[in-house]
Each structure stands twice: as structure tokens, then as C-alpha cells.
Symmetry: C2
Subunit: 364 residues, 2 copies
């Protein structure tokens, strides 16, 4: 068994659980948040900065790395860990989502997806087998099955056809990944239809994966609908394997989803917001370009132990941001990534102590 997952504590008042996930590159405490390292770097951070921020696993994007610099190049240089100098676990997505959101002229067939590169316009075919081969070349600790990104909104029949295709592709990914050293997760689809989510969850479990992701949410549906689908779907997934809610989200969404039984998260929000000057603090959102911070000698968040808060004032951060300095992107990213990691650490500690129901976060 390439991955070992143990639930070490349950929250008495919710579905939340504390877990330990062992991967080829080491142990992860769950619930966990994975910063997104799209192009073999979490934007504006060195790998050593990521460690200092508390990250224990990052996400790499198969679509981007396949197009640039190419998975065969990364394979020849010893894999993604070696290439980017990150020694802890890496989860790779399958490229399914990005093919539709970033590639153009995507055409879906039973075989896979033909699309045009956003880098140079070249045409490519991504299939379940190829998505697995790329992730194997990258040396991923946790690979994701190749899925079709179901559009939203979508009819029941449209969602069913898409979910069924994802199911057949999941079977092919499972076969292609049989020699894997790391884990392989299936992705539950079915849009906002519980019957389809149930069918998808059952089909994937019949194939048998090392963990299960909930995909196709946070794509425009109401937050209450998203919560309802996560609550329902999480209960269709096996108790003894990790559950991963893809692309979510805001701190309050993560806290809520943990209570619904989710173990793993990823989102570009902390890093992208940092580059746009939107910062997460214990008292809520800070928009650093706001004039009120102009002469404020205090740190962003007095309770934060990140490099940025330990060394710099809001006034300095505002100045760097207004002046368009590269250092602004770095310092803001350090802070937001640390905020998310501390949030997860607080969540884990609260589960351990049985006090998760008392934990609150500001609305962002």
C-alpha cells in the first residue's frame, strides 16, 4: 500500500477527524492545506520559505508542467521534488481542470481531450493514460485521476454523461497507475445532483483508490449548495481513507468542510490574493493599498509569527505594494501562506482537544 492513512481522533460534535497520511516523501497531518505550486514554484516563494511558512505538502499542476518545461525534462532531472528543491510530499492534479480553463478549443472524446496550449498554441491530446504517465514522470506522491471538468450550470443528463465518462477514465487511470510508488485518488463528480454524486462515489470505490476527491464544486454554485453537496458526498466516502475537497477555499469554507469530514484542501486564494494585496489576518481582511495603512508602524497581524509580521510594518508593506516592488509579492505571500497553515494547525489542535465547535474564523 503506497499510502497509509490513520484517523487518530474524531471531533465529538461533527464529522471532523484528525489524521496522519504517510506518503513516499513523509508524513502529513490532516486536515491539511496544500499551497498551489503551479509551475514548479509556489509563486514568489523559495522552497525554504514554504517550509518556514509551515507547509507540509504542496500541489503541482500537471497541465502546466507538461507544457513547460515538459515532464520528460523533469523526469530526466530526477523528478519534480529534485527539480524544484522541495523534499516534502507533492500532490499533482491530473490536468483535467486546467485543460478546460486555460487551454483553448478543448474537444472531448472517449479517448481524452484535445486542446491548444496557452503557452504557444500547439495542439495536444491528454488521455487518462497520458495524465498518469506525466504524474509518474513528475514523481508525484499523490496522483489524481484524469476527469472531465463538468460545466456549471448543467442539466441532470449532462452531468450524468460527464460523470460516467469520468468514471470510465478513472478505471483507465487505475490500470495505468498500477506500478505507482505513491497514491492515486479518484475524483467524485456529479455537479449538484446527489444521486449522481452517490453513483460516482460508489463507482470509484468499486475501482478502489487510495483516497477520494470531491471535484466540480466552488465553480459558481451558491455557497449553501456547495456545503450541502460536500456534506452529502463526504458521507458516501470510506471512513478510513482521505477525503480531498478540490479548489476550496476561503478560511470559513475550509473550517466548515473540515466539520463535514474533509481532510485535504488546495486553493490559489492565499497566494493569488497576496499578489493582489489582499491579506488574511486574525481580525479579517486587510487591503494593503488602503490609505489607512500609510503611516501604520504596526505589523499586519500582531499574533502572526511569519517573517513578514516579525520584521515589517503595514506602512512598509503598503509602500512596497504601491511602488510595484517584487518584494511586496514575496512578503504578502509569506504572510498569507502562513495564515492558512496556522489555520490548519489550529483546526488540528482543536480536534485533538475536542474543542473544534468553539473555533471561529473571520468571514473573508
Amino acid at each position: 500500500m503506497p499510502l497509509t492513512f490513520n484517523v487518530v481522533a474524531h471531533d465529538p460534535l461533527s464529522q471532523a477527524r484528525l489524521g496522519r497520511l504517510e506518503t513516499p516523501h513523509g508524513m502529513i497531518d490532516t486536515p491539511v492545506f496544500m499551497p498551489v505550486g503551479t509551475q514548479a514554484t509556489v509563486k514568489a516563494l523559495r522552497s525554504s520559505d514554504l517550509l518556514a511558512c509551515g507547509a507540509s505538502i504542496i500541489l503541482g499542476n500537471t497541465y502546466h508542467l507538461y507544457l513547460r518545461p515538459g515532464h520528460e525534462l523533469i523526469r530526466s532531472l530526477g523528478g519534480l521534488h529534485e527539480f524544484m528543491g522541495w523534499r516534502l510530499p507533492i500532490l499533482t492534479d491530473s490536468g483535467g481542470f486546467q485543460v478546460f480553463s486555460l487551454g483553448s478549443l478543448a474537444r472531448v472524446s472517449e479517448d481524452g481531450v484535445t486542446f491548444q496550449s496557452h503557452v504557444d498554441g500547439s495542439r495536444h491530446l491528454l488521455t487518462p493514460e497520458r495524465a498518469i504517465d506525466i504524474q509518474l514522470a513528475l514523481g508525484s506522491d499523490i496522483m489524481m485521476a484524469f476527469d472531465e471538468c463538468t460545466p456549471y450550470p448543467v442539466t441532470y443528463d449532462g452531468a450524468r454523461l460527464s460523470m460516467e465518462l469520468t468514471g470510465r477514465w478513472a478505471q483507465r487511470c487505475h490500470a495505468a497507475g498500477h506500478k505507482r510508488a505513491g497514491g492515486l485518488f479518484g475524483i467524485v463528480q456529479g455537479s449538484v445532483y446527489k444521486a449522481l454524486r452517490d453513483a460516482s462515489a460508489k463507482e470509484l470505490q468499486d475501482i478502489g483508490f487510495d483516497g477520494y476527491a470531491i471535484g466540480g464544486l466552488s465553480v459558481g454554485e451558491a455557497r449553501s449548495v456547495m456545503y450541502d453537496m460536500v456534506a452529502h458526498t463526504a458521507q458516501q466516502l470510506p471512513e478510513r481513507q482521505p477525503r480531498y475537497l478540490m479548489g476550496v477555499g476561503k478560511p470559513q469554507d475550509i473550517l466548515h468542510a473540515v466539520r463535514l469530514g474533509i481532510d485535504m484542501f488546495d486553493c490559489v486564494l492565499p497566494t493569488r490574493n497576496a499578489r493582489n494585496g489582499f491579506l488574511f489576518t486574525s481580525t479579517g481582511k486587510v487591503v494593503i493599498k488602503n490609505a489607512r495603512h500609510r503611516a501604520d508602524g504596526r505589523p499586519l497581524d500582531p499574533g502572526c509569527d511569519c517573517f513578514t509580521c516579525q520584521h515589517h510594518s503595514r506602512a512598509y508593506l503598503r509602500h512596497l505594494f504601491m511602488a510595484g516592488e517584487i518584494l511586496a509579492l514575496h512578503l504578502n505571500t509569506v504572510h498569507n501562506v502562513t495564515y492558512y497553515q496556522r489555520l490548519m494547525s489550529r483546526i488540528r489542535e482543536a480536534i485533538r482537544l475536542g474543542s473544534l465547535d468553539e473555533l471561529t474564523v473571520p468571514e473573508f
Copy 2:
């Protein structure tokens, strides 16, 4: 005396000397290179990175900081050192050069220079007294006298008038800076005319500064002319005070100027070139976007102990640069700044050992 300068060794075969310059924020070994921190940051580096690169003093730009975030703001927050989190010495330029190169519609009068901000188009008047007041607000360790940037090429009479104006402004700066805690340097002008350089050097020494800079070179004249002017002018300056060649330059220029008796340097070359993917190595220039580095698993420079060379391959650096990643700017800057600091360290060691004539650098 706010600055103390001691020459501790002379090279037997040239005018080069090893010195120690004591400032309010500590000691600097000379010859020294000062990375340029224009907007309260050396672009793409944190202050802790600068320390790791070996920097012992940086340069701050009065023009930029006056316009944004404003010197009064920096003064109210404890000065530039505190504002940017840099505890070692800072030399500030006077704004003279930038007013002409970055401001627009600059108009010179006896009083000073009226110009339009490159940030917001607002109109400002910079005078010798104001340039000193700004530098005092910043808490500079070494202030520069406000000078007129003599255009190049220029007639003898044009250069003479400009040099004479700079001399009168130097007198006013000296008076305005009499309460300074740090040092104040005069700037020798006179374009490419030795008689004017002599007159300027003499006039400034009659006023009496803590050190002397050679300005108005590396502005388009032939390299041989520049070397000739430095050689001549350095000999007009007092033996017991530091000599600073402004805005120079390439490693071979620095090595040559050290042999002519120069103690201090600044230039945007290492940092700007880094952001453009031009890297300094012990075997010459590396253009990181070049396809030859695509699959090269070796470090940029095997003899370099910087973070970049210790952790990453040319292939990774090329990938980051081609992908437009912020981390490329950071890692390249770390390397180039370290290269320059190591160059200065090798120069100092060679003077100490009496072997400076054997030291060579690649042509860049």
C-alpha cells in the same frame, strides 16, 4: 568626526588600498560595492537575503523616497533603516542624477532644480538644503551633496559652468548638513576635462567633506576616457579619505578602478541584469534563457556559495525565467549580488596579500 576612515594596507604595484570605514551603523571594509536599494528595497531581496549575499552597505535613492512614500513618513517611522529592516549602513544619493534622468521638464536655477515627478506628474523643487534635509530624515549614514548632472557630451565652457554650480551647491549642502550624525561626501564634476576635475576637487576639499565621489562618468564616454579621468581625478583627492566612483560598473571596471585608488562603488548592473536573466559567473556571462541550459542539471557557478547555486540547477532557473515566475527574479538577484560581493572580497584579500596584480575577472 562622524565617519572614520583608516587605510590599513596599500597594494605595492598600484594605487589600490584596503580600508575600514566606520559609520553610525557599523564598519565597512573597503573597497566595497553597494547594491542599489532604490525604493527602500534592493529589488527582489529581503534585508536578510542581502546579509546572506554578503552586503555590508546599500545605497538608497533620495529622489524616489522623497516622492514615494515621502521622507517625512520615513522619518516618522524611525528612518530608512527601521522602515526597511536593514541594520547596516546606508549611503543615500542626493537625488541630483535622478531628477534629470527620471523626472521630466527639469529646470535648473541657482536655487535648485524644478522638475515633474515620474510617479504622478506633480511639480517639485529640489535644492541643496532640501536634498540634505531629506537625507537627514532618512537617517543616512553617508549623505551625498546635491550636484547638477552635467550632460554628455558637453563643451568645456558648459562643463565649467555646471561644475561651478555644483561647487556652490556643495557649499550650501555643507552648511545645511552641519548637524549631521553621519558623513557627507562632495561630488567632483568636470566631465572629461582634467583642468575642471582638478578645480572641482580642490574646491570641494577647501569646503571639507568626509569623503569624495567622482560623478558624471560612465555616461556614454569611451571606456578609456573614463579610466583616464578616474586615474587623474583619484590622485587629486586626499589619501586619507574614502573615494567613491558613482554608478560604476562592470566587474572589470571595478577591478581597474580599485587599482586607480577607488574605495567605493555602486551600480544597478547586478540587480537589473539579474531581472533580465544575465548572470555573472566565474567563467563569464550566462544568458539563462539560452536553450543550452534547458536540461543542464549543474548549478550556475560551481564555485559560488549563494543560495541559488547551492540549491538549484541551470535547468530550473531557465524554466522559472521562461515561465515568467517571480522566483526567477529573486534567485537571479541573489546570485548576482553574491557575485559582486565575492568579487569585492577577493579584491580586498588580494590587497591584503599583496597579490592584486594577479587577480583577473572575465570580461562582461
